[in-house]
């Protein structure tokens, strides 16, 4: 298959143990180690490219981009499921997952406090912070 030939000819021998195992288990659907680190399978990245993508996503996520961490985990979902197959990618993906959950917990706790607490908790500052007032004040929704 073209795909496997690509990984053996152009990649380092790291994935070859996976390939050998895969060839042995051709007819078994039981969890052999996956060849592809991404959720797209053969349409996605190879392992080397996957490593650079995972690292870049992880680093860029620190610019207040938890959604990028979430996309990282989604994209490399097979790496999370089979944690022993791609150890280098797994390092970045796990940290992205942890970062996303921490950031989401913080942000949602703040948002819920703001929404539920309301004016009782914050006083007049609430009116200055809530989005629809800010939009009105700055005229953001005036089309013309």
């Amino acid at each position: 298959m073209e795909a496997s030939q690509a990984t053996t000819t152009t990649e380092d021998p790291n994935p070859s143990p996976n390939l050998r195992r895969r060839d042995l288990n051709l007819n078994s659907i039981s969890s052999s180690s996956p060849v592809w680190p991404t959720i797209d399978g053969p349409l996605g990245l190879s392992e080397e490219e996957g490593l650079s993508y995972a690292r870049r996503f992880y680093n860029f996520g620190f610019l207040l981009l938890p959604l990028l961490w979430a996309v990282n985990c989604f994209y490399f979902w097979p790496v999370l499921r089979h944690s022993r197959s791609f150890p280098r990618i797994h390092y970045y993906v796990v940290r992205s997952a942890v970062g996303f959950m921490v950031f989401t917990a913080l942000l949602s706790s703040w948002a819920l406090t703001f929404a539920v607490g309301g004016e009782r908790l914050f006083g007049p500052v609430w009116d200055q912070l809530v989005m629809y007032n800010v939009a009105d004040k700055m005229g953001l929704t005036g089309w013309s």
Binding site: E2, D40, G41, E49, L107, V130, A135, G139, S144
Partner: protein
């Protein structure tokens, strides 16, 4: 194995591939209808944009005035779009691909950030959602940046890219439904005619762009929705093996077997695409292969095309058409100037998957959104008409194997059915319902 695989491949794969294009189109239309239904604005809050420079419609004008005004608006808009498309052809000819990609990313950011933000603000104001500005800004920033990355990078998760393209189409389509009514309808017809001319005429800008891209074996930087290629496992073994279905095309003597990882379309060798597979210069209809053989022998079968010499390169002709759409200026926003989305019509991707340009998504959704502003009955009629037109276009695509404009058939059918439903069917159905004859 000696049979000609081509008719079988068209019949087998057409259903699945049609569905994989119909689903995002339907989702986009559905979301626009929902947005239009929720954010019912009064008739006075229309946008002023490039599409309304010639004439601003008021409710007190006569029918003829409205029609002439709408015609002038549409002609102005089509003229602007033509000029911008020619500029893009010129830039592509001068190989400013980097600039085009940057501009594409920038326009995606503007659409997602500013248009998306505006629509989110509308929703927040309508429902009085008590979200604070910090959370809102962080969320919007995330949404826009990840969207730009999804559109910009060629190897993002397919689902994320497709989702963001549908969202971009939805946002721009909603914005277009804010135009005055007559202008919208005449604009749709004008854009359908422009699309027809620009793709099929030899002097049309989109045709020029496609020919340039084919002759250079290059990728056109554009916002295009590409469906996932349909893969078939004939005997069900070796799960996870991707078998590429190929539209086998006429041979292009200019093509060669060099591995160009950026090839995304036209005369790309199958198996050699930016998905990281090897550059297998021989395209074949893989569904013909008996996949009960092991992995390696499948490859050798792939190499040995049936009845053809191995060094023949059968590649895909997937000429794509581009159409730059000038989504006009958003008043009141400082940073948003006229944006150009480089969009495409319908073509075939390198792996045989169907590509549909984002402009088609947008104009289909504009039609259905405008129909939703009248009644849901017109929505159903227009939706069915558009889907029928899309099916016809896809079949023509399978027949002619070249780039086709996806707008004309669907838009013409949609407009026709809108007016038929509004003026003829509705009276009938309402009277039947009132007299309890039919619901």
């Amino acid at each position: 194995m000696a049979q000609n695989p081509r008719p079988r491949s068209v019949l087998e794969s057409l259903g699945e591939e049609i569905v994989r294009i119909l689903i995002p189109v339907s989702i986009c239309m559905f979301m626009v209808v929902i947005l239009v239904s929720i954010l019912t604005s009064d008739s006075s809050s229309t946008v002023s944009s490039i599409a309304t420079i010639a004439y601003s419609e008021t409710t007190s004008d006569t029918t003829w005035d409205k029609f002439v005004g709408a015609l002038l608006n549409s002609l102005a808009f089509v003229a602007v779009v033509t000029v911008v498309t020619f500029v893009l052809v010129l830039l592509f000819y001068l190989r400013c691909t980097k600039f085009l990609k940057l501009y594409m990313g920038f326009s995606a950011f503007v659409v997602l950030g500013f248009l998306g933000g505006e629509i989110a603000l509308f929703l927040i104001q309508d429902f009085s959602i008590s979200i604070d500005c910090v959370t809102f800004l962080v969320g919007l920033f995330n949404f826009a940046v990840v969207g730009v990355l999804a559109v910009f990078m060629s190897k993002m998760a397919i689902f994320v890219t497709q989702g963001y393209l549908v969202v971009i189409g939805m946002l721009v389509a909603y914005w277009f439904t804010l135009l005055p009514e007559w202008t919208t309808w005449v604009l749709l017809v004008a854009m359908a005619l422009y699309d027809l001319a620009a793709v099929l005429l030899p002097v049309g800008p989109l045709r020029l762009l496609v020919d340039l891209a084919i002759s250079r074996d290059e990728d056109i930087p554009a916002l295009v929705y590409e469906a996932r290629p349909v893969s078939y496992n004939d005997s069900g073994t070796s799960g996870g093996v991707a078998q590429r279905r190929v539209w086998r095309e006429r041979r292009n003597p200019n093509s060669n077997s060099e591995a160009n990882p950026n090839l995304n379309d036209n005369s790309v060798l199958v198996g050699n695409e930016d998905r990281g597979l090897s550059s297998n210069p021989n395209a074949n209809d893989i569904s013909e292969l008996n996949s009960s053989v092991g992995g390696d022998s499948v490859a050798s079968l792939v190499r040995a095309e049936e009845g053809r010499a191995v060094e023949e390169d059968a590649e895909l002709v997937a000429p794509l058409l581009d159409r730059s759409m000038n989504a006009a200026r958003v008043e009141g926003e400082s940073a948003a100037s006229s944006e150009n989305l480089l969009l495409e019509g319908m073509g075939l991707g390198s792996s045989g998957a169907i590509k549909l340009g984002l402009g088609d998504f947008i104009f289909y959704s504009v039609l259905v959104g405008r129909a939703a502003m009248y009644d849901y009955m017109t929505v159903y009629a227009c939706y069915l008409a558009i889907i029928a037109g899309l099916g016809i276009t896809l079949m023509l695509l399978a027949l002619y194997q070249k780039a086709l404009p996806a707008l004309p058939v669907s838009v013409m059918l949609g407009v026709l059915f809108y007016f038929l439903t509004r003026f003829l069917l509705e009276i009938f159905v309402v009277q039947c319902s009132l007299n309890l004859l039919m619901f």
